[in-house]
Symmetry: C2
Subunit: 151 residues, 2 copies
């Protein structure tokens, strides 16, 4: 499995991974439109041009089998160190249970270390109990409430 | 109370607010050094130069009485809309219980709406039970586990 920064040609596959998920379906984002929306392309271009955002893919040959997004956030706390936020983690439904998710997240943690981040954080839906165990096994502590407000 | 983007002269007061907090003290960040560290100045400059990060202060005349940091995160989910992350929320210990925190957070939510964000999110330490009620009253739902890994 090769883990790398996504390029433009990966976008449709990433959208497929984001949609193929029970929680996303429940939010009304379970269908991938045939043509990628202009706003989604614009979002990809924004990420691609931003030194503090990285769309990551895990690929097996030509198949994109995993993804996540990293955001590096500067802040005045913790001696001015960056924090890394992980969002939108997905492993292809046909490839789960093979340790690929752990490999992907460990890769991102290594990236955070290289950059000098002092903390890595993410939120995971309370319904995703398997995910809580998964992240706890990687060293994460469920120390915070993750609060969301939809606009 | 005036709510605005922080400038360089606000930084020492913001550091004071960040440090004056039981959870920060427990993390070993409860003392403000007499001289602001170069890494903290660099972090401020990074935020100040970044269109997707804003350090916010609430001021009463010359007194900085509240702060938070906003990060606008582009993403492929939710039709390519940005999400807004709120971090490092503090109200001066002598000014709590006067509704200032609510005013500050409502101001940030309005800012998210103006920018077209579809979601506002934050994490709050599980020990901060008052904060959970505070954010719930503002419309936030504690739908997620907030997981952290210290490096």
């Amino acid at each position: 499995m090769q883990i790398r920064i996504a390029n433009r040609t990966d976008v449709p596959a990433v959208l497929g991974l984001l949609a193929d998920d029970d929680v996303s379906r429940a939010r009304g984002f379970g269908v991938v439109p045939e043509e990628v929306d202009a706003a989604v392309w614009a979002a990809f271009e924004s990420i691609d041009a931003d030194d503090r955002n990285e769309l990551i893919v895990a690929a097996d040959g030509d198949d994109v089998i995993g993804t996540c997004q990293l955001t590096f956030i500067p802040g005045l706390s913790r001696g001015g160190a960056e924090r890394m936020l992980i969002e939108a983690v997905r492993i292809h439904s046909g490839r789960r249970g093979q340790g690929l998710g752990g490999e992907l997240i460990r890769w991102t943690i290594e990236r955070a270390r290289e950059r000098g981040c002092r903390i890595v954080q993410l939120t995971t839906d309370k319904r995703r109990t398997d995910a809580h165990r998964f992240y706890a096994a990687l060293g994460f502590e469920a120390s915070h409430e993750g609060m969301k407000l939809m606009l």
